[in-house]
């Protein structure tokens, strides 16, 4: 028996409430983040990711308090993302009880920030979030590009090369969201997941598009991801964590049951 693949429920939090947008627009309320985190911990989630999707500076304090409240009760790893732009932001979240922070846009605009963060706090707590969209190429080969601002702004950066660069700069893990699939529940983009997972030595979390339990299995088996992140299939009671874990284990994926 080796390392278990991880299931990571994701809490998208807006103004202190868990919400889940469909392609970052439609918002449904899924409850109090502390309650939701506690429920997932009790169910046997392997980690929890907290994404602050408001991320405007006036809500910062609410986020810090929520992270503190979760960290006081939940004894599994907690990643916090959304609006992490400075070393001070990282320190604030780690002091509030986060175990890792997820850096997204700030890495795109200033890759050296990833190096600085990793040197200061250690690679183990630096997750780089990559939002990738498939773009067609004249010769027909698959290519994925990094997008920012909820998938609206292309950057011209190749997603696979970018992931390798982030690893070199000291990222400890990649959180890969395939943007065109996010919230529409057609499954992860297995092509980009596999391409990146095979191109880097650090763990890769597949995110964006999990709509059923087969998608989770596919993310690991076909996409070669080390962990799968999902939100709405768990938030709205479609599936529980133990059910998902058993389903994956029955299909040969090593899980912590």
């Amino acid at each position: 028996m080796g390392l278990a693949k991880r299931i990571i429920p994701c809490l998208d939090v807006d103004n202190g409430r868990v919400v889940k947008g469909v392609q970052f627009v439609d918002i449904r309320d899924a409850g109090d983040p502390v309650e939701v985190a506690r429920r997932y911990d009790e169910q046997g989630a392997d980690e929890i990711t907290f994404l602050d999707i408001t991320a405007s500076s006036d809500n910062r304090e609410t986020t810090v308090h929520t992270v503190e409240a979760i960290a006081s009760e939940v004894f599994i790893p907690l990643t916090v993302g959304g609006g992490i732009r400075t070393v001070e932001d990282i320190r604030t979240m780690l002091n509030a009880g986060a175990d890792k922070v997820s850096i997204n846009t700030a890495a795109v605009f200033n890759p050296e920030f990833v190096r600085e963060a990793a040197e200061r706090f250690g690679s183990q707590c630096i997750v780089v979030a990559i939002d990738a969209k498939k773009v067609s190429k004249p010769d027909g080969d698959d290519r994925w590009e990094i997008f920012t601002h909820g998938g609206r702004k292309p950057t011209g950066l190749d997603a696979v090369e970018w992931a390798q660069k982030m690893e070199e700069l000291g990222a400890g893990e990649i959180l890969l969201t395939s943007m065109d699939q996010d919230g529409v529940k057609n499954g992860y983009d297995l092509g980009v997941t596999r391409a990146i997972s095979e191109a880097v030595i650090i763990p890769v979390i597949a995110s964006g598009g999990a709509g059923n339990l087969d998608h989770l299995v596919d993310g690991i088996v076909e996409g070669k991801a080390d962990a799968v992140l999902a939100a709405s299939i768990f938030h709205f009671g479609q599936h529980s964590i133990p059910e998902a874990k058993q389903y994956m284990a029955d299909r040969g994926v090593e899980m912590r049951l």
Binding site: M1, G2, L3, A4, K5, R6, D41, G44, D46, A71, S72, F75, I76, P77, L94, N95, A96, G97, A98, D99, E119, F121, G122, S123, Q124, C125, G172, E173, I201, I202, P203, D226, A227, R256
Partner: protein
């Protein structure tokens, strides 16, 4: 009043360890996150956490005299090392071009390397996630099933030269020492404070351990 001191030498996140200890502490026991040598000397138990690069950890440990303090307190009270707080207890680490450590446990800390395989599978580094730990008989495992999974995150691993000091092992491309013990000292590579029920049980056992 009974106290457990979590040694704060300025390296990263002590909140998790302190919160988890508070969660399982018996009534009347206080958890103190501190760098004050007197508070640490007076504590009933001591926890040495650690994250990040070992060179920076050891530099701060030496600057604050934590190395001598650890050598002193471990003679009389239970001490728990966690993650890099375990690694610094060995003689030497390969990380950062080679760093001399505290040397309470004989052995070295080695890099997994980029060519790490198990059953023909290329393994990711860092070793991040839940792995099984094979236990040796020790009171800190009370109430925890052998082969239970704990949460690991590390790129370097301990190899103790005296195998009778190994209290737990883990397989990840190599066989690594997941737990080491010697007299009053118990040290773990994984994060008990992040390992759900099994981890909380181990911390609870530590707070009630009388070696």
């Amino acid at each position: 009043m009974h106290t457990v001191a979590v040694i704060d030498y300025g390296m990263g996140n002590l909140h998790s360890a302190a919160k988890a200890l508070e969660h399982v502490a018996p009534d009347g026991m206080k958890v103190l996150v501190t760098s004050d040598a007197d508070v640490i000397r007076k504590a009933d138990r001591v926890v040495l956490p650690g994250v990040g690069a070992i060179r920076d950890c050891m530099a701060e440990i030496r600057r604050l005299g934590v190395d001598d303090l650890v050598r002193e307190v471990v003679k009389t009270k239970p001490l728990l090392g966690i993650c890099v707080g375990m690694q610094v207890l060995l003689d030497h680490s390969e990380e950062n071009g080679g760093v001399d450590c505290i040397g309470l446990l004989p052995g070295n800390v080695r890099y997994f390397g980029r060519e790490l395989y198990e059953n023909d599978q290329h393994l990711k580094v860092p070793h991040m996630g839940w792995s099984q730990v094979t236990q040796s008989d020790h009171p800190l495992w009370n109430g925890i099933k052998d082969e239970s999974r704990f949460y690991f995150v590390h790129s370097y691993y301990a190899q103790c030269e005296e195998r009778e000091l190994v209290a737990g092992t883990c397989q990840y491309g190599v066989q690594l020492d997941a737990a080491l013990t010697k007299d009053n000292l118990f040290a773990v590579q994984f994060h008990p404070e992040k390992s759900a029920k099994a981890g909380l049980q181990l911390l609870s056992n530590f707070l009630r351990w009388n070696p």
